[in-house]
Symmetry: C2
Subunit: 510 residues, 2 copies
């Protein structure tokens, strides 16, 4: 592998250069291993791959802690070999998901803003070794990250040993876009003094005791590209509902045309919503999010966004090329921060973030499931959605109203798993329309959702349930023994749809 010694300013560390196999040999059975990487960006691409190759003939089991999901099929490789006993705080791999749902691999699905605190307070024990992708190492041993920060700063602070992967495919002049702020330990946790998305509060590299660096490996593998799905009619309808709603908020004097900092989860709906801003009247927008996606850079190019703060740049291959070919244009408009800063309740609530996240399903009263299919099988995880939904100024959840050829309604009587309670859901949007749940009691929320969000194929069924529930009474009416009948029907017949005799809407009679 090609080396570039100019990437290691601390000359005392030159002797630590090694190859990925030797570096991986430092990882032993039973260890707690941390790796950089957040939504496939800035992850270990050499050492964890070498580890998976070794694991084929030298079985081992490790705890693997990251920022969020990894690229390079690392999770799939290691999981298939049985090399992971415990994984946290997030994953998004199909193979690993199957093993998790079979109970063969323990998975702690965490709020992404909380892992650093849990690590500092010793919940998961000591970190034996951390693998951190870097663009360079500075004279003081500090590490300049690449396309993500994630939990790398806390890994560097706590790990007993550190392997640095210097990735030559990332230009060295990425230095400067990182803002590394360490919050400190209880009882002396610091104020995070951010009062605007673009405010720098930390240093440009991750502090690291050079004596802990046990190996330096070079690589030139690129980040796995993001899968970008083009907007379709459904996502465009959802996007237009949100833009219309925000326009009305501006006209009502509750927001200005600059809105408040935007956060958008990953996925085609969120991407479509952000793209919708390009042709809107909004201006001088800012982004305070986790992941800077293609749409972020489209909005820079459209002159709509002034600044974007996140914990990673996760983009398509063409966007990646475009960014680094035009680096001067973007580098002063971006900050990448540790995920316990991007996702800090403190900062999100202070800035008044407008959070747009995807629901797997939502119920009559606005409770949202964003992680578990039919209440049991995890899809990916809660990610940062609760960090943002709980603390935002406006918490918007988006979903298509049905899926799988209308056999599944994403609006159900009672969600089978609650990630976000009704207290943390302000706005619900489907391609049917938008329900503004602010200032409503639960029974009023149910009417707003029935009238605006439910697919026509399920409206009568849901209305019938709601009416029967209201006869039973309660602040949050339910027919508890029928609350999950739709899942039972789905299991038995392959569809939530049933025949019903209600001919016309009787909602107004309630």
């Amino acid at each position: 592998m090609k080396q570039d010694l100019s990437r290691i300013a601390n000359t005392g560390l030159i002797s630590k250069i090694t190859n990925e196999n030797d570096a991986a040999s430092l990882i032993q059975d039973g260890m707690v291993v941390a790796s950089s990487g957040f939504t496939k960006s800035g992850d270990s691409k050499a050492v964890l791959l070498a580890l998976s190759q070794r694991a084929e003939f030298d079985p081992l089991k490790i705890t693997l802690i990251t920022g969020a999901s990894l690229g390079q099929q690392t999770d799939a490789r290691l999981a298939t070999l049985g090399a992971i006993s415990l994984r946290l705080p997030f994953q998004a791999d199909a193979v690993m998901r199957t093993l998790i749902n079979e109970g063969q691999l323990m998975y702690i699905d965490e709020n992404l803003g909380e892992t650093a605190m849990h690590l500092k307070t010793g919940v998961f024990g000591d970190i034996d070794i951390a693998v951190i992708e870097a663009s360079s190492i500075k004279e003081d041993g500090s590490i300049v990250p690449t396309t993500s920060v994630g939990n790398s700063a806390i890994f560097a602070a706590l790990a007993k040993q550190i392997i640095v992967e210097i990735n030559l495919s990332v230009p060295a002049d990425i230095e400067g876009i990182h803002d590394i702020f360490l919050t400190g330990k209880y009882p002396d946790k610091a104020v995070i003094p951010i009062t605007s998305a673009g405010q720098r509060v930390g240093r440009s590299s991750i502090p690291c005791n050079p004596e802990k660096i046990a190996g330096i490996v070079f690589t030139d593998k690129k980040d796995s590209p993001a899968d970008i799905l083009a907007p379709d009619k459904t996502t465009e309808k959802i996007a237009s509902c949100i833009l219309e709603f925000l326009g009305n908020e501006v006209r009502a004097g509750r927001l200005t045309k600059a809105l408040l900092p935007l956060q958008a989860g990953i996925g085609k709906v969120a991407n479509a919503v952000l793209q919708g801003f390009a042709a809107s009247d909004f201006e001088h927008l800012t982004i305070y999010s986790e992941v800077l996606q293609d749409s972020t850079f489209d909005l820079f190019d459209a002159g709509k966004v002034d600044f974007a703060s996140g914990s990673s740049i996760t983009v398509s291959e063409s966007c990646y090329q475009h960014i680094f070919n035009n680096w001067e244009k973007y580098k002063d408009k971006i900050l990448l921060r540790p995920q316990d800063v991007t996702n800090a309740a403190e900062v999100i609530s202070r800035l008044g973030v407008i959070a747009i996240n995807t629901a797997l399903e939502c119920d009559l009263y606005g409770n949202v499931n964003s992680s578990h299919i039919a209440g049991t099988h995890i899809m990916n995880g809660i990610g940062g959605s609760a960090d943002f939904a709980q603390n935002s100024y406006l918490s918007i959840f988006v979903t298509e109203s049905t899926c799988k050829g209308n056999t599944i309604s994403r609006i159900v009587p009672m969600v089978s798993h609650v990630d976000h309670s009704e207290h943390d859901v302000d706005i619900l949007v489907t391609e049917q329309g938008l329900a503004d749940l602010r200032g409503l009691a639960p029974r009023q929320k149910a009417k707003a959702i029935l009238q605006n969000c439910v697919h026509p194929a399920y409206r009568d069924m849901l209305e019938e349930y709601f009416m029967e529930a209201c006869k039973r009474g309660g602040q949050t009416p339910h027919v508890i023994e029928k609350a999950f009948d739709w899942y039972k029907d789905l299991r038995l017949t392959g569809s939530m749809k049933r025949q019903h005799s209600i001919q016309e809407s009787s909602l107004d009679k309630l």
Copy 2:
């Protein structure tokens, strides 16, 4: 009613002195009315009573917004007369609860830390009139509150008109214990710079434009006293489990003997836990909570607590006398703050609060219901429990394992309503024992709860459910169509208990 003009330093306001009936006449049908008051302390005692008397022959309907619950049976009186169309953000009255659950009174059960933000952003429209209990009015028109701050500062800032109730039963030298910090509006919301429970960051009175003061009423009615239930065997067992756990955390080096600031919800279990600290080895404790209860002052007297911050003093009659008879002893050790400061995610997460709250029920995977009986009928509301559980360093939930002569298990397969998801529950304690859920995946949490918290009368049933669920698979195994069978049985037979054939624990086989 006796008057004391020395309580009104702004002499221009003397002319505003009136009686409660005339003041109440300012409140008209359809108005949005705000009232001071937090867990029965510092509430309106004259004007809202006069309003309820008028409502007997002059029907009207208002929106009533407070800090939290009111004393003086105000909620019951107004609700019985049909005088409230919408109530928020919290209530704890039996009569009002019935009307809410019948759907006759709309109730927005809110996180107590969030109401101020919702008011500032206009979710509930304008506040027409605010009634604020005061100990005095200062020369600049600012209001010195009494035994609570609650949402009074934001009410004073936003209301079109203000009625001040000066309560002569509260000594004027209560002045000095309030710390009024206004967080500002988006996009210029301020850092709340609190880094310790005892830090003063604001002023000692509530800013108020004297021109908005439309009436001043004198009263000498005392706060409704708190109902204090003596500890019993169950609560003492729960308390001893928590104290033992915290002792172990100190021995493991994760906490010091001063622990971290304590928050405790209202109720006999939380009260028993706090009382348990009196005879413990812990020292120099601090409290950063919502409500300062009898136990807080017991711990001052025992020399265990150095400082206590809250939004109200809600104590028994004898404790109330004791406090004000010994005011010099306590006044420098207490701060009462606005509830959007006591309950701010920012401060709770920065201080690393140890939060102890009561669960109505908890499920196999650590999800907690703290508000809805059988998933539908609200008890009181979520209160501040989510503000603290979501942002604390340690989120502890306590509950007895069964109730009503063992016919109801408080540990169930799936909770019927989720206020706190598994992500926000670190420790679960019943009189059976304590389950430390930190660092566990859902299936591991289930085993810890089964082994430590469930009542023996329900252990086999819950284990049988868990085993059947595990056969179905999933990150969070459930038998979705049976998840609520216990509630169905309770409804049909008056008990959750059933006959089962499992003779011995087969948990270890999983």
